[in-house]
Symmetry: C2
């Protein structure tokens, strides 16, 4: 910048002002200096600016990356979420610092202006740990009762209730819920499901499955049949579970959707082309990312920010 100043015959500060579009400098000189900077290939030194401004213009995104823990790494949605976040943040001049939980103690994370937590699953401990940093923080997931932090997530209660209504409309009276309600998100789906069914005097059966795999969905159906539990509808917490359920039901001689209705969750691309095409609940991940980013930015700007839930949509296909 000093070099630029010398070449242009002005002082450093004028360069600084010109390049940041300050109205303090004459329009003509401003444009002249900007053109000059362009021509000489001048690059702003981000560290220097950040040091002076005492901000890093960076938001750390902490992702659960252990494939073993949850299903997080195994489907593409976190990446779409990241896409939404990244787009919104860079549009506002902020950078995305990506970290895993392990790496999150690094100095760079503490230097961030804000924090976004993704896929921390059921572990509230992680949330609290990062809360201690005292940074603006937004979490993706299901809002808990007593938590003070800002949460953005899709409306899992609604996800449960639309499926319930769907089943009721189809005349189903013995629905089953397949999933692991230890995840707050899935707990909410279950609750929405149960409550909406209760309004029609129907009480569903819960069958816990920890894994989100096809095999696990098959297994759930076998186990139900073995226990001679009557059921005519299955709400599975992932499309893979649902597809497993359908496959098992076919093996057991029960038709889908003739004998049993099945609905999955996430509406992954495969769902539309599965056989038969799977009905599923769709969440808008991209929008979720955008919203997460907007909330942190607002918090960084000292605005008051509230948690928010995004509506979901039931895609009715043939199951």
């Amino acid at each position: 910048m000093a070099d630029l100043a010398r070449v242009a015959g002005v002082s450093k500060i004028t360069i600084s002002r010109a390049l940041s579009d300050s109205p303090l400098v004459n329009r003509e000189t401003r444009e002249r200096l900007q053109a000059l900077a362009q021509k000489l290939g001048y690059k702003l030194n981000v560290s220097a600016r950040n040091l002076r401004l005492r901000r890093s213009h960076t938001v750390a995104v902490i992702v659960e990356m252990k494939p073993s823990h949850d299903r997080t790494m195994l489907d593409p949605y976190p990446l779409i979420l990241l896409g939404g976040i990244s787009q919104e943040l860079t549009a506002h001049g902020y950078s995305v610092l990506l970290t895993t939980r392990q790496g999150a103690t690094a100095a760079a994370v503490q230097a961030a202006d804000g924090l976004i937590l993704l896929g921390q699953g059921s572990r509230q401990d992680a949330v609290r740990r990062f809360d201690k940093l005292g940074l603006p923080m937004v979490v993706w997931g299901a809002p808990g009762e007593g938590d003070e932090h800002v949460v953005v997530g899709s409306d899992n209660r609604q996800g449960g209730s639309v499926v319930a209504d769907h089943f009721i409309a189809l005349g189903r009276r013995n629905p089953v819920f397949v999933g692991n309600p230890n995840h707050p998100e899935i707990f909410d789906r279950l609750n929405g499901f149960v409550d909406a069914l209760a309004a029609h005097g129907v009480k569903p059966l819960l069958i816990r499955r920890d894994e989100f795999t096809l095999a696990s969905g098959m297994d759930a159906m076998y186990s139900l049949t073995e226990r001679k539990v009557p059921f005519d509808a299955v709400f599975a917490c992932s499309d893979l579970l649902a597809m497993g359920a359908i496959r098992a039901l076919n093996k057991l001689g029960r038709g889908v959707p003739g004998d049993v209705s099945v609905v999955g969750y996430d509406d992954m691309p495969l769902a539309a082309t599965a056989l038969p095409p799977l009905s599923s609940v769709r969440q808008d991940w991209q929008e979720g990312g955008t919203l997460l980013a907007r909330k942190v930015l607002a918090m960084i700007g000292d605005k008051t920010v509230n948690s928010e839930v995004l509506p979901v949509e039931l895609i009715v296909r043939e199951t």
Copy 2:
């Protein structure tokens, strides 16, 4: 740091040295100062250090995020790659700056110490554009003939040839290749496939499909049948294509693997539990990420670095 110095009764520089484990300060004082820093909750100011050291300790990862362009956003592999990268970089005190191609003009990217390009697909223009920044750069993909930059990728030629050998061993003489050879990666798979087959006097048929969907795989089979082309083996460039092919073949009354052998690519989780369990070529994404990271770090450390291909593995299941 100045505060720390005052409290400890030493000078700033001693604090600095103590906290960076410099042997210049007495062991006892060093430990005392480190404990003190810990107790007072001192946080290093990264911007200041970066400014002074003229390094950012940051590697920018540029990901193609447009779901429309390629399939990148639609499967989880880029995320696993990111996981490997992130782990390796943070282990060496570097941070991961995540950007899309659009956001890559931001100042923060130019401030990075190195660059990793992911999923830029067939567009070499992007590579060249970032090359101009003059930063250490490593690209994920297939090494081209005349390119000067460092490329890490899995061995797509080998991917093609192992499948060819597999088909030959099964006695297949009329194999088909399904995919879009405009992608350099897929072009290599095709070449490996063709060359390995040629060694046995077999010439495969190429059927171009741009999409990586189930529907596209089905369509390919219908089109082949319509054109009355004889074939007894299908090598599809993705598991979804392969699964579509299998479904279409079943509809057409041709058994898999009885009449036609089918092999997919990527070995996604679904492949193992598909019906019938799908044979597929597996790439080690995590390892790829680690390697990408190691290469940039080496380049940043002014070491000479070469491109590298990772071996792939054919998982033989029932198709």
